[in-house]
Amino acid sequence: MSTAPSPVPAGVGRGPDAAAGPAEQGARRSRARTRRSARRGAGAACAALMTPFFLLLVLVFLLPVGVAVWLSFFGDDQPELGFGPERTVFTGLRSYRAVLTDPTFLRGLGTTALYCLVHLPLMVVLSLALALLLDSGAARLRRTAQLALFLPHAVPGIIAAVIWLYLYTPGLSPVIGLLDSAGVRVDLLGVDTVLPSVVNIALWSNLGYNVVIFYAALQAVPREVTEAALVDGAGPVRTALLVKVPLVRGSAVMVVLFTLIWSLQLFTEPMLLSQASPVVGARWTPNMYIYDAAFTRNNYGLAAAASVVLLAVTVALSYAVGRWSTRGARPGGPGRTGEGGPR
């Protein structure tokens, strides 16, 4: 969706020399020509290298979005009761009206909003805290810890969901069995507990990935800055919170953005949990609603309209996060210093 890599402006520089002395004109011209041809060569290389990207951008992103928008305005209609012959007609905003008046879709959006409210802060704070710990050097076995944190991310979402489903299901789960024998009764798939359960799966899967992002950014923090903080008498906690954290602001924005987009597209985990827990309905999240509209209700127009609505929400929220992140950042301010590769 909106997460496909953005097109990169070719960034061809402006024309050269405004004025030139007559004596050097010939030499300059030839130099300019070589430069121009070199530039042309670079441009061709760039074009050759970028064509596949644009091709794929069109094929896997723009085209599907276009088709979805197109589909959302059409329907296979039959008059009255619907038992007559089908014909494809332009339906205007009908499917959008249906999606937006469907209480199950709105409930799904609400569920996702709640999910984001719980998941986003937890994810950012936890991954940043872990990255700071790793960066501080306080942690022993740093590499092992990093690997252990990152490993769950290598597990496909569906497998992760199966593993956790096993741990959540009463009668199967050793954890619930242990708690039960200790006299603690928990229903991890209940109406109030299933959302935290899904958040837990997502945290487990993606925490390590975000820790790596933060850790890389922290490694790029200039040592002079932390040393200066040390000289000024700041302890490790103060240095972490007041010096390092502001410097990795850019990474934080990125983590928020990725996690947000990931959360809005929540599908695999609840889809699997819906097999085990009746309180996770077939339309628990907007993405599940889309799936249900297309494959249970056989209404591609409706599914397309719901997809476009979800896309619009995603784009709007991503834009809002972008605005929010640049609002506080002064040009050349700390927001940019933190970015950069690991050393």
């Binding site: 670079a42 009761l81 619907g82 038992f83 339906t91 209404n299």
Partner: protein, 475 residues
């Protein structure tokens, strides 16, 4: 799957960081960079996307249906029903004109209906498909099921239970042929009712009293479970009370899932739930089955087919069960709803609709077909062709029910099935939404009534988005 595409792009973290999605920062950063540098990024994207592309390329293709005939017409048949293979084998042996290729498909809710819809969309649906009653109008509207009116002979029509045929007929056109139709009944623990001297209830008022007596006599037990996974169950109860969730009069789909009879049923069950007179949990689960196995429920409100289901699920309770008519609202004007049953449709894609119809006719009306089906295991289905009832009755070993003549009871009850009911155009979704609401109610969030209301509210946009003439009616 596709959500993993970009956010999880396996690039070095710094590259991802530089991609920085904020519209402001991106151009600013590029100005500081030498020109050729941007190129690697799309390359990484290309590499990241390649597996996806390959995956989509592999997803294509599908099974076609062979309709080659060496003098013999070949038709294909999809069903999730047990015993279908035996039926097909018997049919193929019984004559030489038509050969049926059978494919066992998952049950409708497990993906069978999605498979059928997709096949029809791709133009390779089987000649004959199995569809349950609630889904018949949906498949008819989607143009999957063919209008069978010209193919359906008078003889077969006359042999079918009229109430069953009415459920597959819209605007005078029949879209599928019923195999079985399942009147609701009350399965009860003969031994437990007798041990506690509780009379088997004949009316819903008596049922409520009996429920109280059961709880008093055995505090850990209840008279029955109100299933939170039972959209069909609730529909059947509303059907009995005279509800009409859908109505096609006047060429319009009138939706009224909260009409007066339904409100009566919802209020009745909510009262029993609130007073703790029934269990409230899913029944089609291991836990639900264990509840019966432990003898915690004295009875089950279900339909004729489930007598056989009980025999298979609880062999240990041999001889302890009985079948009673479903309690009535008004014993002087008894009425009944249906819960379950299947029909056979010929699809639009079929090249041999007449042969397909011959096969269907044999399947639903021949004693040999029923015997072949029953040879695969115990079943207490109630045939929609009423003159097959003696065949089914003969095959049934009623010792499980202490020798009770259950088919005689089924037959009486089938005659009481109310004809006011019509299923709606998107019943899988409608019932699922009701069930989602019931499941939440089971966890203390909502009531039977709110589940029905939400089901109705979620159905309306669906019907409108299909371009149907639909309106919500308050009755």
């Amino acid at each position: 799957m596709h959500r993993r595409r970009a956010p999880r792009r396996p690039g070095p973290a710094d590259d991802a960081a530089r991609t920085g999605r904020t519209p402001r920062t991106r151009p600013r950063r590029h100005r500081h960079r030498p020109r050729p540098r941007p190129c690697p990024r799309p390359l990484i994207a290309v590499l990241a996307l390649l597996p996806l592309l390959l995956a989509t390329a592999c997803a294509g293709g599908g099974a076609g249906t062979a309709r080659a005939g060496e003098g013999r017409v070949r038709i294909t048949f999809w069903s999730a029903l047990r015993g279908s293979q035996q039926v097909v084998d018997a049919y193929n042996r019984s004559q030489r004109r038509v050969h049926v290729d059978f494919e066992q498909v998952p049950s409708g809710q497990q993906g069978g209906y999605a498979k059928l819809s997709n096949a029809a969309r791709a133009g390779n649906a089987p000649d004959v498909a199995t569809i349950e009653y609630p889904q018949v109008p949906g498949f008819a509207i989607d143009g999957v099921a063919r209008d069978l009116t010209p193919l359906l002979g008078e003889r077969l029509r006359a042999r079918l239970l009229p109430q069953a045929l009415a459920l597959t007929t819209f605007e005078g056109r029949t879209f599928s042929v019923p195999l079985d139709v399942e009147p609701m009944v009350f399965l009860y623990r003969r031994d437990l009712f007798a041990a506690h001297h509780i009379a088997v209830p004949r009316t819903w008022a008596q049922f409520e009293r009996a429920a109280r007596e059961v709880r008093r006599a055995a505090p850990g037990s209840r008279i029955a479970t109100f299933p939170t996974d039972g959209g069909h169950h609730l529909a059947g109860l509303a059907w009995q009370a005279g509800a009409r969730w859908f109505d096609t009069a006047g060429g319009t789909w009138s939706v009224s899932m909260t009409d007066r009879p339904t409100r009566k049923v919802a209020a009745y069950w909510q009262r029993l739930i609130d007073r703790g007179l029934v269990f409230l949990n899913p029944v089609d689960t291991q836990a639900g089955s264990a509840q019966i196995g432990r003898g915690e429920v004295f009875g089950k409100l279900t339909a004729a087919w489930d007598a056989g289901g009980m025999m298979a699920a609880q062999p240990g309770q041999h001889g302890k069960w009985g079948v009673a008519p479903l309690p009535q609202w008004d014993p002087h004007r008894p009425r009944l709803g249906v819960m379950g049953g299947s029909t056979f449709a010929v699809t639009k894609d079929s090249a041999h609709p007449r042969a397909a119809m011959d096969f269907i006719e044999w399947q639903v009306s021949s004693p040999d077909s029923l015997r072949a089906r029953l040879s695969s295991g115990v079943s207490s289905q109630y045939p929609a062709v009423t003159d097959l009832v003696p065949v089914a009755r003969k095959a049934m070993d009623t010792r499980y029910f202490a020798g009770q003549d259950i088919y005689a009871l089924f037959r009486r009850e089938a005659g009481l099935i109310s004809r006011r009911w019509t299923w709606g155009p998107r019943m899988t979704a409608t019932l699922r939404t009701v069930q989602d609401g019931l499941a939440r109610a089971g966890d203390g969030d909502g009531t039977v009534w709110t589940a029905l209301r939400e089901g109705e509210r979620a159905t309306m946009p669906d019907l409108e988005a299909l371009g149907l003439d639909a309106r919500r009616v308050v009755r």
